[in-house]
């Protein structure tokens, strides 16, 4: 495990006391974001997102299978994340650990609970055959804030995905049926200061983390608090406000790429 020097932590906190961040950003400012779609030919949909130096690639694969018994006319959505050793000297090979699982589940809820994918339109034969949508998140370069990079890449991949009906002899290919998505923004807290879009340095000293997903109406659609520190109600309100503002900007950027 890479060791973070204590004096580096102290320096970042000292900067924060003066309203500064180690890379010169404002507390609620995101790093430069790049979104590219259709990066993997074999996938039914794919996207690459870079937030600063963090890089994530998401691929959407689809297959025909059985529905869940409690929802016989809905398609199935499943999300998996891999913190592959490629992305960081601290990621180990092996089955997904708690961090990867939490990442996958948070992204999954952001997509599922907000009903971005209209799974009721993915039924082929009720009770027998439905479309299964696989969202696979591949972290390529870890430099902080995997949650937002993974969410954004998942959305960009979904919005450029095609249902491969032809390959399964079920008609012509058509775009995946989708609704307006919520956008997630992640913040971390250290030394009583809260900053948005944490860089690696900031994440390494973070005491608590909060991800908030908001929609076009300004409503909250998902939240997740992580790490073993705490947030005050006031801090949470401020994070929600900043998430709404940044969510709007990220949504505009996403819409431009997916051609809305």
């Amino acid at each position: 495990m890479t060791v973070v020097p204590i004096i580096k932590r102290d320096y970042i906190c000292r900067l924060a006391d003066q309203g500064k961040r180690i890379d010169g950003r404002k507390f609620d400012e995101f790093r430069n974001i790049e979104i590219t779609t259709n990066v993997v030919n074999k996938a039914e949909g794919s996207a690459r997102v870079k937030i600063g130096n963090t890089q994530v690639i998401v691929g959407i694969k689809m297959d025909v299978g059985e529905p869940y018994s409690d929802s016989p006319d809905s398609g199935v959505l499943t999300t998996a994340a891999e913190l592959i050793p490629l992305a960081s000297p601290d990621f180990e090979a092996g089955p997904p650990q708690a961090d990867a699982i939490e990442l996958a589940r948070v992204v999954d809820r952001g997509v599922r609970e907000s009903e971005v994918v209209e799974i009721n339109k993915l039924c082929i034969e009720p009770g027998e055959k439905v479309w299964i949508v696989f969202i696979d998140i591949h972290i390529i370069d870890y430099d902080g804030n995997l949650f937002d990079a993974a969410s954004l890449a998942s959305l960009a991949a979904l919005f450029t995905a095609t249902v491969p009906a032809k390959r399964f002899e079920l008609g012509e290919d058509y775009p995946l049926p989708l609704k307006e998505p919520p956008i997630s923004c992640t913040s971390v807290k250290f030394n009583n200061v809260v900053v948005m879009d944490p860089s690696l340095d900031e994440e390494q000293i973070a005491e608590a983390r909060l991800t908030v997903a908001t929609d076009t109406k300004g409503d909250i659609r998902a939240m997740q608090k992580g790490l073993n520190g705490s947030f005050t109600k006031d801090e949470i309100q401020k994070v929600i406000q900043a998430s709404l503002e940044n969510g709007k900007k990220l949504r505009e950027q996403l819409n431009k790429i997916i051609g809305k």
Partner: protein, 242 residues
């Protein structure tokens, strides 16, 4: 039957228009990842591969350490979305075997005695697969190792040849790999032409093998020039003022 499929048209061209000795398009970029000590992104036909090198660093757990030299630990992995039918995440037996033969190929050229008890981890991720991923992976690994400043006697390079419709051809494409009669991936140290990796499956006469072998070496040498070009391209600005 495998050899029933027509893979060569009456003008002697392959399905994708290539001649018998033509390589698919290859694009190589060195130093593309921020966290890795050395990295490479490579596109080869429809293949897309990322390689990240970490090390030399302490080999953990301690019982795998070699007191005399570094161990080269290559890990070949395919993304779930890299193939037509989604692949379950995690290493399968094929990935484990490929990881092993690539590790062994790299160990021959890396000057491992300089780093006792250390590990040099080479992570190969295939994001888009279209026949020849192990050659693409090893070729990219060579560039990533050089990028990381790892001492080597040579930059390893790999290429495959095969037999389709009775003819020996260079760099099998997807249908050729699936429906051809033989597949021969080879990796060499381009300076000395020593063979570091060699696998073959299918059916070749001795004559055909010699032809395929020589053609693969020829392919490797062309690709070796591309590797070196990519490395020098990345660092040429080091000598210039912006």
């Amino acid at each position: 039957m495998k050899s029933d499929m027509v893979l060569i048209d009456d003008k002697g061209k392959r399905l994708d228009g290539r001649g018998f000795e033509d390589l698919r398009d290859i694009k190589i970029e060195a130093g593309v990842l921020h966290r890795a000590d050395g990295s490479c992104y490579l596109e080869w036909g429809g293949n897309k591969v990322f390689v990240a090198v970490y090390g030399p660093r302490e080999a953990i757990p301690r019982h795998i350490q070699n007191p005399l030299r570094a161990i080269v630990n290559a890990r070949y992995n395919m993304a779930a979305f890299s193939v037509e039918d989604r692949k379950r995440p995690g290493p399968d037996r094929r990935s484990r075997e490929i990881s092993k033969v690539i590790s062994e190929a790299l160990e021959k050229v890396v000057l491992t005695e300089q780093f006792p008890r250390a590990a040099i981890d080479v992570n190969i991720e295939v994001l888009d697969a279209e026949a020849g991923t192990r050659c693409a992976g090893l070729t990219a690994a060579g560039v990533a190792l050089a990028d990381a400043g790892i001492p080597m006697t040579d930059i390893p390079v790999a290429c495959a040849t095969g037999k389709i419709n009775g003819h020996v051809v260079l760099d099998l494409g997807k249908e050729e790999d699936n429906f051809g009669e033989a597949d021969l991936p080879i990796a060499i140290s381009p300076r000395t032409k020593e063979v570091l990796l060699l696998q073959m499956d299918g059916h070749l006469t001795l004559d055909e093998f010699n032809k395929a072998f020589d053609l693969a070496i020829k392919g490797c040498l062309s690709i070796s020039e591309l590797q070196k070009k990519a490395i020098l391209e990345k660092y040429k600005t080091v000598l210039e003022v912006e």
